[in-house]
């Protein structure tokens, strides 16, 4: 098996996610882009696990998924409460933590 | 080596402090009485320990040693013990505390009218916290002098800043926060340099121990030793304040409440000069000798420079703070002259300066509490109205200018004579400082207590019994030690000699042969 295709796909997904995080304003979209990046990493982890014939990478991928799930719960809750108070889900509007 | 004598001594004020802290706000009176009782118990206990100290020729250098393992991984011990130098400094510190407690009895009680400084914007301040902090400070002070483990010393050295920070920052004058921050940061910078050196010491000596007795003579000579020396030296020079590291002291001394200032200048600063003798000299003999000329010159500059600054001050507490900087010049001179007379004089100077400047801060505080101003121009003629205060003020002032018959003279002269046998020019320059000392003390006295009585001063109340007893014992002690200093000199002497032995120095012998052609 050639890992090249998988890795290229992973890189492409990661790039799309990263660019999305950087350019989009809507918090939900940014959030989904973060998920995309995590899944891109998952893909490479699984690929390398397969190449090396060990299960370490796959276990790592599970970890990432669990963390991502937990993160989704907290992240969405935060986005929800911000949206409720400010009537906006734009990340640029929530700059209360500036200097 | 599990002699608990000193650990008990250290713990008494800590327990007292916790007890006072845990009182309720309204129990201010109980807090004062409790602190006074604790501080007096400590005095009595120290006296008992002091009498058990051996001064004969074959006595151990460190006595009452006790050692318990603390951090196993780095071989850090809670190790305590005192030599003559530490013993007299502990004694001086514990004597000063009850005096400070008595002097600041009503200083934070807005109803008493004896409030020292009415700082704008200050809330009703917690009286019991002040006294608890004093006892906490006493705990650290005794700890820092008795520690014989470098790491433990460092911990006490830094921790001591905390109660003092709060004493200045919460109970001080109008610019208290600025002063407290400056004091804290300045000392902390020095402390961190010292921490680096402490670690360096642990690494370079390879003795895998922090015990001072294990480290003496182990630091390899050369550049490393000089750098390690500098780390310690700068920390101590900031603490002691040696010119040019002195500018935090006038601010801190002026803004701190008088009692706090007495302990700050009287005891905390002594840790710096104590550190020179206990750590710099024995651990880094080569570097000490290498840097000694520079330090001596800085000391002499300090003596003259700070004296001139003191003459030019209008703020009484700043003035007293500057006089201390000048006195620390004398102490530095005595230590780095490397003679028994100089060293012994310097240690005695530390003790005397604690008593005398402590008393001076207290009497200045008592005067300020009456006039509610630190500016000398607001006073004048007070001797007519408050003869007891004037008398005590003059006596403490005279002790500051080292009048013979008072113990300050013995120490100052020992320092000068010890310096003279090695460095004639410097000693002569330093001696001219005694004229300046007379000027700043008597000029201050003239501006505050002599002259025509102003309307404001006419309403002053003389000292009551409590206030008198805050100062009088200190002065009595200064006079007694001035007339008969032998007991305390006998305690200091062996320790100083041991220290000089560590630096490989011995006294120059009097010799007329070299003197042909006059005195250079």
């Amino acid at each position: 098996m050639t890992p090249t295709y998988y890795l290229v796909l992973s890189a492409a997904l990661f790039t799309i996610g990263a660019v999305g995080v950087l350019v989009r304003r809507n918090a939900i979209v940014v959030f989904m882009c973060v998920e995309l990046m995590l899944n891109a990493v998952n893909l490479s982890l699984v690929t390398f696990a397969r190449v090396n014939g060990s299960l370490d990478g796959q276990i790592m991928a599970f970890f990432v998924m669990v963390v991502a799930a937990a993160e989704v719960v907290i992240g969405l809750a935060i986005i929800m409460s911000i949206f409720r108070t400010r009537r906006s889900a734009s990340v640029d509007d929530a700059n209360l933590l500036k200097y | 080596m599990h002699n608990p004598a000193l650990v008990i001594l250290v713990l008494i004020p800590l327990i007292g402090s916790v007890a006072v802290f845990s009182l309720r706000q309204e129990q201010a009176k109980l807090a004062k009485q409790l602190s006074l009782a604790v501080s007096l118990i400590v005095v009595v206990y120290t006296a008992v320990v002091g009498f058990a100290f051996h001064t004969d020729a074959h006595a151990e250098r460190f006595q009452f040693r006790g050692s318990w393992s603390w951090i196993k991984a780095f071989n850090v011990h809670i190790a305590v013990g005192v030599d003559g130098i530490a013993l007299v400094l502990v004694a001086m510190s514990v004597v000063l505390v009850p005096a400070v407690v008595l002097a600041s009895w009503n200083s934070f009680d807005s109803r008493s009218g004896a409030e020292e400084i009415v700082a704008p914007g200050a809330k009703q301040r917690s009286v019991k916290n002040y006294f608890a902090l004093l006892l906490l400070l006493e705990f650290f002070m005794i700890g820092v002098f008795t520690a014989t483990d470098v790491f433990l010393f460092y911990v006490f050295f830094e921790a001591m800043l905390v109660p003092m920070y709060f004493i200045i920052g919460s109970f001080g004058g109008p610019r208290r926060q600025y002063a407290a921050m400056k004091f804290f940061l300045y000392s902390l910078v020095g402390g961190l340099l010292m921490l680096a050196s402490v670690i360096g010491l642990y690494v370079t000596t390879g003795s895998r121990s922090f015990a001072i007795t294990d480290l003496i003579g182990k630091v390899p000579d050369g550049a490393t030793q000089k750098w390690l020396f500098l780390g310690f030296f700068i920390a101590f020079a900031i603490k002691a304040p040696l010119v040019p590291f002195h500018t935090w002291l006038p601010d801190a001394g002026a803004e701190a409440p008088a009692g706090g200032a007495a302990l700050l200048v009287g005891v905390l600063d002594k840790v710096g000069t104590f550190g020179f003798l206990r750590y710099c000299l024995p651990l880094f003999p080569g570097a000490s000798r290498y840097f000694a000329p520079t330090i001596l010159i800085l000391s002499v500059i300090g003596i003259l420079y700070a004296a001139f600054l003191a003459i030019g001050q209008r703020d009484m507490k700043r003035l007293v703070a500057y006089t201390s900087v000048a006195h620390f010049g004398f102490i530095g001179l005595g230590i780095f002259a490397f003679t028994t007379q100089g060293g012994t004089g310097a240690v005695l100077y530390m003790v005397n300066h604690g008593l005398s400047t402590g008393a001076l801060f207290i009497v200045v505080g008592l005067l300020i509490a009456r006039g509610k101003s630190r500016n000398v121009d607001d006073y004048g003629g007070a001797a007519k109205v408050t003869p007891i205060l004037a008398g005590l003020f003059l006596l403490t002032g005279l002790s500051a200018l080292a009048l013979p018959g008072m113990s300050t003279f013995v120490s100052e002269f020992l320092v000068l004579v010890g310096t003279f046998t090695r460095h004639k020019g410097l000693a002569v320059l330093a001696t001219t400082g005694i004229v300046l000392a007379a000027i700043y003390v008597l000029y201050l006295y003239q501006r505050t207590f002599q002259g025509r009585v102003s309307e404001k001063v006419a309403k002053f109340r003389d000292l009551n019994v409590r206030e008198t007893f805050a100062v009088a014992p200190l002065i009595a002690l200064i006079i007694v030690l001035g007339v008969y200093p032998k007991p305390i000199l006998d305690v200091i002497n062996p320790a100083v000699r041991a220290t000089l032995h560590d630096v490989h120095q011995s006294d120059p012998t009097p010799d007329l042969g070299t003197a042909v052609g006059g005195v250079r």
Partner: protein, 633 residues
């Protein structure tokens, strides 16, 4: 050197007793107001009684140098100073002078200070003075002497600024203390030199020890001792404090600033005779200082209108004579000491009568406001005349015996310097006669010039009796001291034998005649200038530059102010500025630098999540790039 025994072992009481009473009087507070003066005056009388017994006890000894070891004072390695007393002929003379004249002046002060609310405080200070002065003369080492030395400085300070509510008195006190401290620097350096080269500070080791001082060391010690002596004794160039010291109560001027303390410098030099014997240079310096001060005091004394100031300048100049004498060296020391004792008598008498005048004139002291007082105050007048005769050296009065001898010794020095010194001393005698005549005439003769609210009267008996005693001593004391060479022989063990009667540059008879003529001229001059025509009530203006200079003490105060005080203040102010802006500026500047830097850096915290994300990405890429670069280089 013998060890003290019997009554001699109690000599420490001479110091302890007055110290104790001073402490009691000062600490007891107003409770003691009623009986303070009784205790205060009784103490020196008791001490005098003891001193007389001590004198006879010492006289009975074969070796009259008695050492009394008290305890080990400062033992530090090689530096060992014992607290101990040396009772020898020299210190005995001083002990008798201090306690004797001291007793009389204490008794006088009981009356003089009767209406002063600070009388208790006064006697406390006065007894303290007696204690430290006795310590000064009895100490057996230079360091112990130094304790007394500074102690009398403190006593002098306290008593000059006794009326501290007046700023002028407070300032005068400070001035005295500062000038004394300058001298003390000299003395303490001298002690340091002694320790550095001899290894001890006791008289026994430094002066009579095994190690012979080298010339260089002796010169250094001598000069430094001289500086100390100049400060204490009001000698040039540290003389300006002494006239100002007259701000204190008159008994103080009499006891401290005339009879005893200011002569401590003479004592110091006489005591250190062996040092000055080694160094000719130091000895010359003493002579020069003495000669300059002698003339200075005389000239200034001529220009003063304040009676006490005239006497103060007279003290300055008389101590100049003593310095001249002790500086002339072996054989003349004793003359100097005898002049000192005689001066103690007559100057005390003069001051006490001046005090009596002041007392009678509501504390006014301007001589232009006196005049014709001899009618209302006959006793005071009589005492003043006794002192007057003694100081101008009227035949057979005290000054006659000693001043002539000093002039003679100066001439005997030989060479040009001998002639110069002799002429200076002679001129001084003439000037002394002039200004004393002026003072006498302006105060007691002529018509009355005082204002109507003043009612002069003779003083109470507690004041007049001591005055009379001192007046009598002024007349006959010199004869008693010099009779049969008594005091000279007595002092021989301490300061060496006196000059043998031998060949003089000018024969004694001729010199006495010349001196008398000069003195007579001075008296005549004073009488012609001030006795024959009325004295104007205000100072005449448009006088010669010499008179102006004399009135302003030859600009010594102006000089000090311009050269020391002003630049000192300026330097102090400049340093305060430098410390605040320079040294502290560097510290606070560093802090401000950090503060400013972090203020700039915090601008990067924009609050925009996406810019944080970008910087994270940038950082990650940078790390990866670095890793790759390292990996594949």
């Amino acid at each position: 050197m013998t060890t003290a025994h019997g009554i001699q072992s109690a000599a420490w009481l001479l110091i302890a007793l007055p110290l104790l009473s001073a402490g009691v009087l000062l600490v007891a507070g107003r409770r003691a107001d009623k009986w303070a003066h009784v205790v205060g005056a009784a103490v020196p009388v008791v001490l005098f009684g003891y001193a007389v017994m001590l004198f006879f006890s010492v006289k009975g000894e074969g070796n009259r140098e008695i050492n009394l070891h008290l305890y080990s004072w400062i033992p530090v390695a090689g530096f060992k100073v014992d607290a101990g007393l040396l009772i020898d002929p020299l210190s005995m003379v001083f002990v008798l002078l201090i306690t004797g004249v001291g007793s009389l002046i204490h008794i006088y002060a009981v009356g003089y200070m009767a209406h002063d609310e600070g009388r208790r405080r006064f006697f406390g200070y006065f007894n303290y003075f007696i204690a430290v002065m006795l310590l000064l003369v009895l100490a057996n080492s230079y360091l112990a002497l130094y304790v007394g030395w500074e102690g009398v400085g403190l006593a002098s300070y306290l008593l000059i600024s006794f009326y501290y509510s007046r700023n002028i008195a407070a300032t005068a006190g400070n001035k005295a203390f500062f000038a004394n401290r300058v001298g003390d620097v000299g003395l303490s350096i001298a002690i340091m030199i002694m320790f550095a080269y001899v290894g001890s500070t006791s008289y026994a080791d430094v002066l009579y020890g095994d190690t012979q001082l080298t010339k260089g060391v002796a010169t250094a010690i001598g000069f430094m001792l001289l500086l100390g002596a100049c400060g204490k004794s009001g000698q040039f160039p540290l003389q300006t404090w002494l006239p100002d010291a007259m701000e204190g109560p008159t008994p103080v001027s009499a006891l401290i600033h005339a009879a005893t303390m200011v002569t401590a410098g003479v004592y110091l030099i006489a005591r250190s005779a062996p040092v000055f014997d080694v160094s000719q240079a130091a000895r010359t310096a003493v002579v020069v200082v003495g000669a300059i001060t002698l003339l200075y005091g005389c000239v200034c004394g001529c220009g003063q209108d304040d009676l006490k100031r005239v006497l103060a300048y007279s003290t300055v100049s008389q101590i100049g004579y003593m310095f001249l004498a002790v500086g002339l060296g072996p054989g003349v020391y004793a003359i100097g000491i005898i002049h000192l004792v005689g001066h103690g008598f007559f100057k005390a008498a003069l001051f006490l009568s001046a005090g009596s005048v002041m007392h009678a004139m509501n504390d006014r002291i301007d001589m232009r406001r006196f005049g014709g007082l001899f009618r209302v105050m006959p006793i005071t007048y009589g005492v003043f005349v006794c002192g007057y005769l003694a100081i101008i050296g009227f035949p057979l009065a005290t000054g006659f015996w000693t001043k002539d001898k000093i002039i003679e010794a100066a001439l005997d020095k030989g060479g040009t310097s001998g002639w110069v010194l002799g002429v200076v001393a002679l001129a001084g005698a003439g000037l002394t006669a002039f200004y004393m005549t002026r003072a006498l005439v302006m105060t007691f003769h002529g018509e009355r010039r005082w204002e109507d609210d003043v009612h002069p009267h003779e003083a109470s008996r507690s004041m007049t009796y001591p005055m009379i005693a001192l007046g009598v001593l002024s007349l006959v004391g010199g004869y008693l001291l010099i009779f049969g060479g008594g005091l000279q022989h007595w002092l021989t063990p301490s300061v060496g034998p006196s000059v043998e009667e031998g060949v003089h540059t000018v024969s004694t008879l001729v010199l006495t005649a010349i001196t008398l003529v000069v003195v007579a001229l001075g008296v005549l001059g004073g009488w012609v200038a001030f006795g024959r025509k009325p004295v104007p009530i205000s100072q005449p203006v448009g006088v010669s530059p010499v008179t102006t200079a004399a009135r302003r003490n030859i600009y010594a105060d102006a000089f000090n102010e311009m050269v020391l005080q002003r630049p000192g203040q300026w330097l102090s102010r400049a340093l305060v500025y430098f410390d605040n802006r320079g040294v502290d500026g560097a510290v606070t500047g560093l802090a401000a630098g950090f503060g400013g830097g972090s203020a700039r850096l915090k601008r990067t915290q924009t609050g925009f999540v996406r810019s944080y994300a970008l910087s994270m990405l940038g950082g990650t890429i940078a790390v990866v790039a670095v890793l790759l670069a390292v990996r594949f280089q």
